[in-house]
């Protein structure tokens, strides 16, 4: 009897160990930011687990700490993440420092063609060096900066009449930054339904990337360029051009005239809160949040309208979004690649869009009914047609922090002039490129 008992215990233990080992082999961790699309991805990935038997774990970090946390993870060669949906600007560092697995061979073997994805997203999220067919990610989440407005307020006859009386034109979706500012100025301090409201919530955050993403929306609409000659790092005359100075001055004017009091350190969530609480008539934010807004109880449905970043001298939108990469330090690269193969399928991409993710696959975004599939899909396509990204250099974090400081100093802290801010930015960026051996 005793022997039998011992055998039974041993059998149970052995089964447990084997099961544990098996389960351990068949699970991978995907790292991304904590936001609405991440929840959609969790939902979507259940199909992958059902098909492959590989359990998915998720490590989602709030946006304000996302870059900090995940770049530390990559730089230290950590094994936490098998798959990384990293920001587009990380692709340079990911490739040069060997954090990401190069996917060309895998794509060729599995018949995954980058021609099936929107060219702007392939270029921004997957390639390094830029414009070359060296792929380190699959475009996962298309995104750009756009605007949301209170369609219901815009439609009110008394508001329309007051606007026409003041500006001599109809109140409608702004076509350029001058109109955008006029519209925001019109709503600033106005009383609607017995409540004082403000013009717009724009990005002003200091700590991570917020104000840079906001300011570049203005800069790109004024035709901003990082270099005179692409790849030469000759920034003088481009970064501090008269048009760039004018754009930066416009952003500062916008901040001063038309934002709610205390809106001096605001990024995605702060803008969403200001908008959803009925505090502002418009908000600047990523398209990724628009499905959530369209479904929101307070501001969803016909209450809100959406538009791409207005032009000033040219069409231009700040690029968001990410590609999905396999982390080079992962012990489970096979399973991670299996996930990418599954994710690249058109039917999975279609479901991804349906759940709230922005597919970059032509079969989805290029479908004839796509622009009318949601109230913001058409504007999304328009924005993606003119996106521009920040530096994607390996030293991007250093370049970004310098811009955060210089533009926040000027726009929010009112230090110096726009010309000085951009001149100093060139000095900072020159030091970075010199240290990196680029110039």
């Amino acid at each position: 009897m005793r022997v039998l008992k011992t055998c039974a215990v041993a059998a149970v233990l052995t089964a447990g160990v084997v099961n544990g080992a098996y389960a351990q082999e068949k699970e991978i961790t995907l790292c991304w930011a904590a936001w609405d699309p991440a929840n959609a991805l969790v939902e979507l990935s259940k199909d992958f687990t059902a098909e492959s038997g590989i359990k998915m774990n998720f490590e989602f970090v709030p946006w304000t700490n996302f870059a900090d946390r995940m770049l530390n993870e990559l730089n230290s060669g950590g094994k936490l993440c098998d798959l990384m949906i990293g920001d587009s600007q990380w692709i340079g560092g990911g490739a040069v420092y060997g954090h990401y697995v190069k996917l060309n061979e895998f794509f060729d073997k599995e018949g995954i063609s980058m021609d099936d994805f929107l060219p702007a997203t392939v270029n921004a999220y997957s390639t390094w060096p830029k414009g070359t067919p060296n792929y380190y990610a699959l475009p996962a989440m298309g995104d750009a900066l756009g605007w949301v407005y209170r369609k219901d307020w815009f439609a009110r006859p008394e508001i329309q009449a007051a606007f026409k009386e003041k500006y001599g034109r109809d109140l409608e979706v702004p076509k350029n930054w001058d109109e955008l500012m006029e519209t925001a100025e019109f709503f600033q301090g106005r009383e609607i339904d017995g409540k004082k409201v403000y013009g717009a919530a724009i990005y002003t955050e200091r700590g991570s990337e917020g104000i840079t993403m906001g300011v570049t929306a203005a800069l790109y609409a004024w035709g901003f360029k990082y270099e005179n000659t692409p790849g030469k790092y000759d920034m003088d005359g481009a970064v501090n051009s008269p048009a760039a100075v004018e754009a930066l001055e416009a952003y500062k004017k916008f901040y001063e005239c038309c934002t709610p009091p205390g809106h001096s350190d605001a990024y995605m969530v702060a803008n969403l809160d200001a908008y959803k609480s009925g505090q502002v008539a418009m908000q600047m934010n990523w398209f990724a949040f628009f499905p959530g807004i369209a479904k929101d109880e307070a501001v969803g449905g016909d209450v809100s309208g959406f538009f791409a970043n207005p032009r000033e001298t040219v069409e231009g939108s700040t690029l968001g979004g990410q590609g999905i990469s396999v982390v080079a330090y992962s012990d489970k690269q096979e399973e991670a690649l299996q996930y990418i193969k599954w994710f690249a399928q058109p039917e999975v991409q279609a479901k991804w869009w349906k759940l709230g993710g922005y597919s970059c696959h032509k079969a989805v975004a290029g479908a004839p009914d796509f622009p009318t599939s949601t109230p913001f899909a058409g504007e999304f396509l328009k924005a993606m047609g003119s996106v521009k990204d920040f530096w994607q250099e390996p030293t991007y974090a250093e370049l970004l922090l310098a811009m955060q400081k210089r533009v926040h100093d000027y726009v929010v802290a009112d230090k110096g002039t726009a010309q000085e801010a951009l001149d100093k930015l060139i000095e900072d960026w020159t030091i970075t490129f010199e240290d990196d051996g680029k110039i």
Partner: protein, 316 residues
Amino acid sequence: MSTQTIERAAERVAQATPSGLSRRIAGLSDGAIAWLFVSPTIVLLLAINIFPLLWTIYLSFTNYRANQPGRAIRWIGTRNYERLLGSEDIWGYMQATAHFVCWTMALQVLLGLGLALLINRNFKGASFWTTVILIPMMLSPAVVGTFWTYLYQPQTGIFSYIVNLFADVGPLNMIGSVELAPWAIVIADTWMWTPYIMLLCLAGLRSIPDYLYEAAEVDRANTWQKFWYITLPRVLPFLMLAVLFRGIENFKMFDMVVELTSGGPGSTTELASINLKREAFEKWRTGYSSAFAIILFVTVFGLGNIYVKALNRVKS
């Protein structure tokens, strides 16, 4: 404890020591035994404090970047120090730090001593109020920073509301204003750490023997004279110790200010430690940030030494 008792205890320890070990120890000199006991501590100290310090000094003369392990480390002499000392921005961060340290210390000393004098009167419910006053210092600085952002909210925050009760200034933008943001972090830190100064002052006050005040009564000293000639000199060493601890901590202040302002608006509240973290772990300029860390270390160490000498003089 009498000498006999100690001898008996030593005998018991000797008997309990394994014979092998006692034979080995018996062959050692007193000095060697002393080294034997302190050596683990010294090894730990070398590994945790001295080696990292020396390594940081070395790195401060190089172009090393911790996020590029494969890159060759190049000796660049004093270039990092020249860049640092010639940078206007660095002096701005140092000024912001000095403003923060000086004002928090001044306010906390005044309020802390005042509260200690009040609590020391032993009124009914003094213990309860002592506990209530101590609550802020028990909170995490990050939590304090976060909830003060709500208190400072211009439209819905209670701070703006209270100020507007006394002066009609409209929504008060404490965090977003260049003029007010440095005071916003001073007020939040003072709220959090005044109880600490109060606690140390209270310990000092409770250590003053009553007979000194009784003698002063006999000499017909008034309240001010009693405070100036008895209370203050007796409390001063405690107060100075509290200032030393808090001064060093505030020189390194990071978490509360990051939560409250992220160093903004612009770089108005970007304290030296916040900038150091950005340089070291966001920009990954390890050599440069090592040089900055050494400069900060030398500054705190130098000021701390001068202060300790002054403290010893006060004590003596």
